[in-house]
């Protein structure tokens, strides 16, 4: 079983829907340790991304990554725009001319996306950023890459756990780092949207199987 363009398209639509449902919560989290725009940023970005995919109808993973990534980059701004944008651009490049990704190929694409986020943002795990959800999610996916749906479900659980664990951390990157010790005790908003990203992927691939 593999993730084809239809499944990937569904992933982006489901990501948009989850963001829309959680928009206020993301903004509230960003109010606590940031600047209260993460909900609006992600809503604007994922709407643009889903619309762009629907409109341009990409045929390959590379086209898909570009359609999503460019839409995110050019509609969000802020920190999350370049980061999520780079994630999808690199995801697409790794998937290259393929029109579907089997487990190992999807794992490689996700890893490439994560690497892109790391090289763009220069954050390391434990610095209270989206990396703390993305990195364990990709690792969990790789561990079960044989079955994409199972792997995605495991990745979603790992992303959520990673996000939950950001609560205790002191931010070292991004806007929240200005808070120093005061940033501890709050979830990182970007890690929460990253958990939604992997939960959307799991749903997209589960529906695929159903």
């Amino acid at each position: 079983m593999a993730a084809d363009i239809t499944a990937l398209t569904r992933w982006v639509a489901l990501f948009r829907d989850r963001i829309a449902a959680e928009q206020e919560r993301l903004t509230a989290l960003d109010s606590a340790i940031g600047d209260a725009d993460h909900g609006a940023n992600m809503a604007r970005g994922t709407m643009a991304a889903a619309a762009n995919v629907a409109e341009t109808r990409p045929q390959t993973v590379a086209e898909f990554g570009k359609a999503v990534g460019m839409a995110l980059v050019s509609s969000i701004g802020g920190a999350s725009g370049p980061l999520y944008g780079t994630f999808f651009l690199r995801f697409g490049t790794a998937g290259d001319g393929l029109d579907e990704l089997d487990g190992p190929a999807l794992a490689r694409a996700l890893r490439a996306g994560l690497d892109g986020v790391v090289s763009r943002g220069r954050a390391e795990p434990g610095e209270k950023t989206m990396i703390d959800a993305l990195a364990p999610a990709v690792a969990a996916f790789e561990a079960e890459a044989g079955d994409v749906a199972a792997a995605a479900a495991a990745a979603a659980r790992a992303a959520r756990a990673g996000s939950d664990a950001t609560e205790a951390l002191v931010a070292r990157r991004g806007r929240a780092s200005y808070l120093g010790e005061r940033s501890a005790g709050h979830l990182d908003p970007g890690s929460v949207s990253s958990a939604l990203l992997f939960e959307a992927l799991a749903d997209a691939l589960t529906e695929e199987r159903a």
Partner: protein, 329 residues
């Protein structure tokens, strides 16, 4: 939320319509949300592009014009502009001598300007970071100091250097000198309200203030009981002086309003600041008091000091003709 707005999501686009209508000296690329000089600068001169989240007006759009910026990219409120916007601005203003990006040190701004510079093949682009806010510890383990009030001074001084026809590396050198020699610190009495959020970004009890606040309402060093102006002045002057490069040069001082404090109070605050600077033996060569880099309707103020040698003072005094800052023509 009590605001003079239409659709909360359309505030920036709507304000750009007003800016274009109000200011004959600029034109607006609405597609890309870029404010440009109506009359482009001469061929062969270095161009300056800045930008950032909206909500800090007159920064940046109000500083587009002769002797200052060539273009300003307007992001959503408090959200950095996207690489497309910066790229469009960069391409539009490049007069063959290179483009300087003046970037306030926020992760989002840094990354978006960086991506734009990567995309701007053809143009030679240099970036200068503003990171002057002493409220935040500067360490390699954090995102570093935030960029705040010094941005205004850098845009003016680097703009003058570019207008004189200095080459790219010279304009960058001057801008870096400003960055090295300037520091800022702010205080908030109330929170601003982002239109899309609809309520104040942070809650501040009626008798407290946020010392070291950021221009997006980011928390600062600590909260404490609201104090009288002389004491607030100490809270600004002391940390700025502690971190300001020492030296015999005089300073350019900016006492900036955050948007919601009356000018009467800003003058009063500057009176207190001036007393402390005199006591500390710091001569003030030039002064700016008013709303220059705001945080929507936040009440409060910030102090920026820049040690200015003769070169910086001369560039400061050079003619400038923008909606937000104008003299000499």
């Amino acid at each position: 939320m009590k605001k003079l707005i239409g659709e909360p999501g359309a505030v920036v686009a709507d304000a750009l319509v007003g800016i274009e209508a109000a200011l004959p000296q600029v034109r607006v690329d609405h597609q890309n949300r870029v404010v440009l000089r109506a009359t482009p600068k001469d061929e062969g001169k270095v161009a300056l592009v800045s930008g950032g989240g909206s909500g800090h007006e007159p920064l940046h759009g109000g500083f587009v014009g002769f002797g200052m910026l060539d273009a300003a990219c307007a992001g959503e409120v408090f959200t950095s502009p996207t690489p497309d916007q910066v790229l469009a601005a960069t391409t539009a203003v490049d007069r063959g001598a290179g483009v300087v990006h003046i970037v306030k040190n926020y992760t989002g701004d840094v990354m978006n300007f960086e991506m734009a510079a990567e995309l701007a093949e053809g143009a030679s682009v240099a970036s200068v970071l503003v990171h002057d806010d002493v409220a935040v510890e500067d360490s390699t383990y954090t995102a570093g100091r935030r960029g705040v009030g010094l941005t205004v001074l850098m845009e003016k001084i680097a703009g003058a250097a570019a207008e004189e026809g200095r080459p790219l590396d010279e304009v960058v050198r001057v801008a870096e000198k400003v960055s090295a020699q300037g520091r800022s610190m702010g205080v908030a009495l109330t929170s601003g309200t982002v239109p899309a959020a609809g309520r104040p970004t942070f809650d501040l009890p009626d008798d407290e203030m946020e010392v070291g606040v950021g221009i997006h309402g980011e928390p600062g060093r600590h909260r404490e009981k609201l104090a009288p102006a002389p004491r607030i002045a100490e809270m600004l002057v002391e940390p700025v002086l502690a971190d300001l490069p020492s030296g015999g040069e005089p300073v350019i001082a900016m006492l900036n309003g955050m948007g919601g404090s009356p000018l009467l109070e800003l003058y009063l605050m500057y009176g207190e600041v001036a007393k402390l600077l005199e006591k500390a033996g710091v001569p003030v060569a030039r002064t700016l008091v008013g709303n220059y880099i705001t945080s929507l309707d936040m009440a409060g103020c910030s102090l920026t000091l820049l040690r200015a040698d003769d070169e910086l003072l001369r560039l400061w005094d050079a003619p400038v003709e923008t909606p937000g800052l104008r003299w000499g023509r």
